[in-house]
Point group: D5
């Protein structure tokens, strides 16, 4: 019996195969008919895939069974702490430092006491052309859950 390949090891192989085959994340998401951010996050180890999805990805990328098995594993979710200070990732955390308390106030004003779910939740990213420089637009969309005893 061998241990299951760790999801981070599988992610490294996915990243290598994707780069060497010149495939985009979007092409992989299309192949399995799943949303773009979800697919990318899943392949980086944050969501379990179904066996069918995992097999399709591995076929496309030329990866073996051990990777596919790992991709179906239930993850322990979370970010590598070192990555939090990567500038591209950090700007999102900075925006939350500046606007997080305001978002809390406005959620309570509009919805009452509760939270935006991070589980019944989706994220999307798109490019918005702008003459002064194109813009990254990221949308967080989560169900409101009220504190309910």
């Amino acid at each position: 019996m061998t241990p299951i390949m760790s999801k981070s090891a599988a992610a490294e192989l996915v990243v290598a195969a994707r780069m060497r085959k010149g495939l985009t994340w979007a092409a992989i998401a299309d192949e399995i008919g799943a949303p773009l951010v979800w697919t990318t996050a899943a392949l980086l180890g944050q969501h379990p895939m179904t066996p069918e999805q995992a097999d399709a990805v591995c076929r496309l990328l030329g990866l073996d069974e051990a990777v596919a098995e790992s991709l179906t594993l239930q993850p322990a979710r979370g970010i590598n702490p070192a990555l939090k200070s990567d500038p591209t990732v950090y700007r999102f955390f900075e925006a939350l430092s500046v606007y997080g308390p305001a978002l809390k106030e406005l959620i309570h004003e509009e919805f009452g006491d509760g939270i935006m779910s991070a589980i019944n939740f989706k994220v999307d990213i798109s490019r918005r052309p702008d003459p002064e420089g194109d813009r990254v637009v990221v949308t967080f969309d989560g169900k409101f859950l009220d504190y309910k005893w």
Copy 2:
């Protein structure tokens, strides 16, 4: 000479006045003709207001000159660490822990090496009705900046 009232002290007075007068953040934003999240963040101490905006807010809320002066002060931006684990705020940080690395991959795929600006940036929040429960929709919209020597 007395020190300028701290922006956190001013924010506490704004919160108290808003609550006692039964005003919404939206009503205050309307009064000064500024965006909702920006106004809320500014009143919580994250953006300097112009003297005109500060005066208009203080007139509306019945607050004195010292508060207005504080609201125009250049802030030291950031979140109180204790607030990061408030559940309503934490869900945003959790979403970044799960999706931050995927967003980084997709920004690089679409735009190349660079970041979404958190300075040339705006946030919006809205309520999207949904039969299975209304949803909180938060949009981050920042200019793409490429690493440029």
Copy 3:
């Protein structure tokens, strides 16, 4: 305009009044017809009360309007870090250190990929007589939320 009394200052006054009047938390919960753990947590600053609940509590305990106003305030939730190592509180954190990963496995086995909500959630505590020493029984009861895009 004066700031609203902080919820921790209000909690200190509630604790003092409760002790000096010889009232139990259960008696206060009965007075407002709310669950015991919810009421205690609310008075310690973790839930907003309705104005009616806040007024009833303050009448019972002989506390003034400023306390009542504070009790209705939307809280920033969370525990004082120093309290985490109090032995009575710490045993709960220790139990999670030992059993948390097992609970995660069993939630995934029984329910699939998702979480126990801490928002649509209730806690109860009771005493179970036992000849070898009575037992503290604490029940966490939260809605299952599946990861749903």
Copy 4:
């Protein structure tokens, strides 16, 4: 002489074998006639098993002697810090942040000065059907220990 296989290495092999053989944690617990949460925690490295239990588990899962030896080892108990922020595990810690001080108050009110033991202690988890969504119910049941000089 070779070192004893670490309990985390043994746990990885148990997890892999369980997944590949399509066995549930419940089936393993049944095989050795031990409680479900205890068995899961023990196999994840938090409790020593008797040699008989360890052998029975390894027979069922097709694992060798080295795993069985490891499962009988006295553990150094505790959670991997990275796992604390996994959303499924985190919700339990969040619930303690919100309700821990209230539980402390109520233990002291009902039992006096002391703690709920985390040693003479058991945990159970079950599913409670609910028309608005089934619920995860987790029960902590520990002997009360009073501070006694």
Copy 5:
């Protein structure tokens, strides 16, 4: 209604009164007929006293009712982090760093899987004359609790 004096404020007054009246901790412990370490710890805020004990102490030290009330309060136990590096306190932590794992091994060898209770527990300190320099002898004496489901 005024808040109850904090236990740390009460401890400061006890320390001041003890010093100014030239009383020893032993004299105070004798006055209330309680063990020496327990009494000292209680007056420093780590154990609640009975009203009789608190009144006796305050009479002896010339302290008022507010102190006595505070001394009967249920404490949130724990050490001020800054005090952990005071050399006199630190040596105990250092000894645990060096010998803690050995004590764990020997407890398991002699008693099996379990712990020394820190609740059903007493500490004593004494001076042992020694020609090479007198010695501080501290005894921890706690009930063994075995892991018991």
Copy 6:
């Protein structure tokens, strides 16, 4: 030239050999005529052994020269941080959190300004039978050192 085996690697082999040969720590301590806690701590890597002691231990346990060499190495002392939260070890740290400041007061009262040495120091552990449950008794015994310029 090969590096010296690390003391933690040597400790793992000692633990494995001791378990497989069914020997107690007490039996090993007897073999080398050294105190029980000292011997256990030394084998776990906290004290250097003399070559004679190291050889005798390795002969008894069937371990090779490389282990013996490592056991004579001067250690870098200290505890693995992960082990501090193991419940059996943690109770000692908790007891210090509760009683450390009281011990400081009493050392100063009895001895003056100074410390209990953690170097000219010994620890003993014993079992004290008690009808209500046997007790773990741990004695710290260190020379008093006064602050002396």
Copy 7:
């Protein structure tokens, strides 16, 4: 005897007076004939001023003797940790995270083993017009110190 006003309290008064009188940092630096960054840092509490400088500043800003005395005090230098994550300050720390190791390599290549002094050191800031947006130019200029036994 009253304590000397803390340098942070003095800095708050300087900031308030400067703002209310509509003076720039440059105007203050001119008044005392000292470099711009040095003067600003000194008034924020990072360098002691001579009594003549302190008096001149206080005359200009209308501040009293207590402020002047504080400005001459030897500082304990360092940044308020909360300010490290202010976006304007953070970008400098981020640049060091990205380029710090490269600067180390290049200092060693050009100068040998040693450091750029942060004591025999000056900083300057200027604005460089640029058609694509003006630029902030900050120069660090420190004496090279070689490791010298």
Copy 8:
């Protein structure tokens, strides 16, 4: 499929080859016609190189294809925390601790509310001869970005 060589592994090989071949960072930068600090940072893993740059560097240093592939990889930027306290690197962080808040004040005075970009940004280092000891001169040059909603 093998994973891509990590950028830190590639950097170690670059450092070794550079040292053994007696090449300077400046010589490498010249070879690819890129700025000195940029090239050094890129080879230490902080910037992606174009395939042409990576190939030219590897030809010059006698390194194989796997290194070149790694050098073109998009990095996760940031500093190894252990390196922050290396004295040569630390002096830069210390200078920011002393002068960071002053730089913030002066940026706001000169440019208004905003930041120096760390993305549209360049660094240069040079040696300035000085009779009292040559000086290290490091220039940060970043585009000003104003807070713009």
Copy 9:
């Protein structure tokens, strides 16, 4: 009964009085006939003074009884963490980071297994003239204590 003035409050008053009266630390040390570093450390709150020393210091500095009482108090020793990064203090910590492990090796080589006492210990500081710039010479002088069971 009032609390005893904290040693940090007493130290602030000593510092203020010393500055306003233009006295050196050396003059104060002379007045009480105690070593220079010891006296300075004691007045900053790290050693208790005898009542005679405390009275003499307060007479010299024009401070009242409350300060004298505080100076005789047994201290909780240790440094304010913010002060650790003050450049003048930090250089000592940096030197230990670089040379600490070498000092450990050399103490063990010369003395065997043990430590330099920090209790039976004195520090001295002096100025050594040097044509290339005068030097700060600090001597740590502590009794060797061997690990002795």
Copy 10:
């Protein structure tokens, strides 16, 4: 091309060879005619050696070329954090916690605003015989650097 052996790996081999050959650090320092503490620190990885020094050390200790190459490498200086709490090392850090602020005061009194250099710096250690127990004497000797713009 192989990476250069890390300085910590080289140090482990030096330590092993020194122990097996029965050589003292002093003997090695004599062999290369360098100061004792400098040599020990350099071999533990804190200073680069010249190729001649590195070769002489490796010849004496019977170590190969790869070690010599590593010894000449420019180090990233600093201490392994785990070693800071080793008792022999910790006593130095404790002494700084107690006397660091006093040393800062006395440096400023004697020299003015500035620091003791940790770069233009040397350390020495010696044994001073004393009838009450020999003493460890460690001297820090660094050039004074005044804050100089």
